[in-house]
Amino acid sequence: MAEQYSTSENPIHRINAWLRSDAPDSIFQARCQRFYFNWLEFKSNPIALLGFLIILVLVLISIFAPWITGGDGLKQDLSQRLLPPSSKYWFGTDGFGRDIFDRIIWGSRITLFIVGLVGIIVVPIGMLIGTIAGYLGGWVDNVLMRFTDIFLAFPRLILALAFVSALGPGLGNAVLAIALTTWSPFARIARAETLTIRNAEHIMAAQVQGASTGRILLYHITPLCLSSMIVRLTLDMAGIILTAAGLGFLGLGAQPPLPEWGAMISAGRQFLVDQWWVATIPGIAILTVSMGFNLLGDGLRDVLDPRSGE
């Protein structure tokens, strides 16, 4: 390297020093530091890093799906039916002559859509019910938690099945059904977190300053619950993916011709014995992604939630 640098001039070193400084000057710096140190710890855990990479790849291929694939994964070509994996069709073709590779790539968007939407629905609901119950206590807490416990005790898959059958099959309804059966543990966690911080001094300080209950819940309690909610959500992602795939497999989730992985397995069932790749490859995709979320969740838990770490 011809370039000459001194430690103080090099921007990377300056950023590094800024991140490691013992006395942060701003809230922003403090946040970046915390993030940086968490990242360092996370990075030193190879298994969690693998999970992170899997999810990163999933996100990237879903973003760049149009550039990675030749088509949209829907184009049928009956002259090219059920071809085995080859250099042209890496994962072979399905019963309608569609390129399975293309469909897997496009299917990643559906998977991300499902987990993302479920997360967006479930976390705020759980947070709302949990923080209100935990902060207000008394009969409010009792009523809300009884309600939560009822949902917690339900059989999730069967209920999701019944929901979808009532609302009609389809991707959106599958998401709704999964969300309806997934929110309850989040409320429990938010409540538990709220109970531990409810009597903290900074909450009392806010109360003394006359902050409204809503304000305290939103600005003082919610941010502190977030990390455990994220951990739980990541760990739940695998379950959400498996449930969604199961609904798709039964024909209750995403409808054809959408390249949803579970539905693809179902479509490949009739060719199982002679054209194994049609049903097998989408399953590997599901396995990989749900494994990725599990690994990531375990790693995040160790970093963000040291109490439950091993």
Partner: protein, 352 residues
Amino acid sequence: MSSPSSSGGSGNRSFPPPILLKIFNIIFTLVLTLLGLTAVTFIIGRVMPVDPVVAIVGDRASKEVYDAMFLELGLDKSILEQYFIFLKKTLHGDFGKSIGTARPVLDDLLHFFPATLELATIATFLGILFGVPMGVIAAVKQGKWIDHVVRVIGLFGYSVPIFWLALVGLLVFYARLEWLPGPGRIEVYYDGIVDPITGVILIDSAWQGEWEVFENAFSHLILPSLMLATFALAYIARMTRSFMLDQLSQEYVLTARVKGLSELSVIWRHAFRNVLVQLITIIGLTYASLLEGSVLTETVFSWPGIGQYITSSLFNADMNAVIGGTVVVGICFVGINMISDFLYKMVDPRTR
């Protein structure tokens, strides 16, 4: 000198006895949960895009017949009243008739349930049999290769879509290797030989001494129960490992070693006894979730259980069957969890 009565005891000799309070609390929760469950299924039944009257009388019925049935079903009453009618019928086990089988739903459920029970019970048993020792060994050998193997198996088990694994299993062991029989609970040839006394073929055939039937039924059970057991094993092994790690770091384990106990006694007599208490809940949870999770596995293996009954009814718009099935599975699910929770509270001296 202090005496036991003054210094000891945490004041748990109060009245009413805490055990009664606990039982009362459990029953209250159970009733509340079941009310919630029936309410939710009732609502699902109401919003279903199927006209319950048409479902019974058919779409060619005359206006008079339609109206008569409309009144008979109580559809003119308020929603709350309708719910109470539904609740009352549910309590009597009356879920109406199934369109698919033209029999009362309850009879269908009683007919299909043993098959599911058989599958889920064997899978849970397998999960305990292998999962518990695996978890214990992994914890004892933390960081060694065997720990990593157990963790990878666990990771695989709770990440894999079981219905897909079941398909792959069928492909490999049935279609390719021909080691195991294909879908179904028993060969058609043996169908109807044993009288369904309990409905569990293994028990019925053994009871009646039909060992050929037993063997055939058993060979049909292997693949589906192994596939279903994958999840149970993974979950139980994972939880056992983490409970065990937690217990092994407790100080009473050091005490046990100070006493001069062998490592085996330290692990099984001391640490594992504490793990076992916690495992009761986990095993209950596993069993309950296998009961409902068998829906997908049953579909793959054409297993004539309640899961397949519900899914096939779904596609026939057989509302009574779906609702009835959901309520029954739900009650079992809730019931098993309550029982395991209760057992846990009975076994653990700290919550007794």
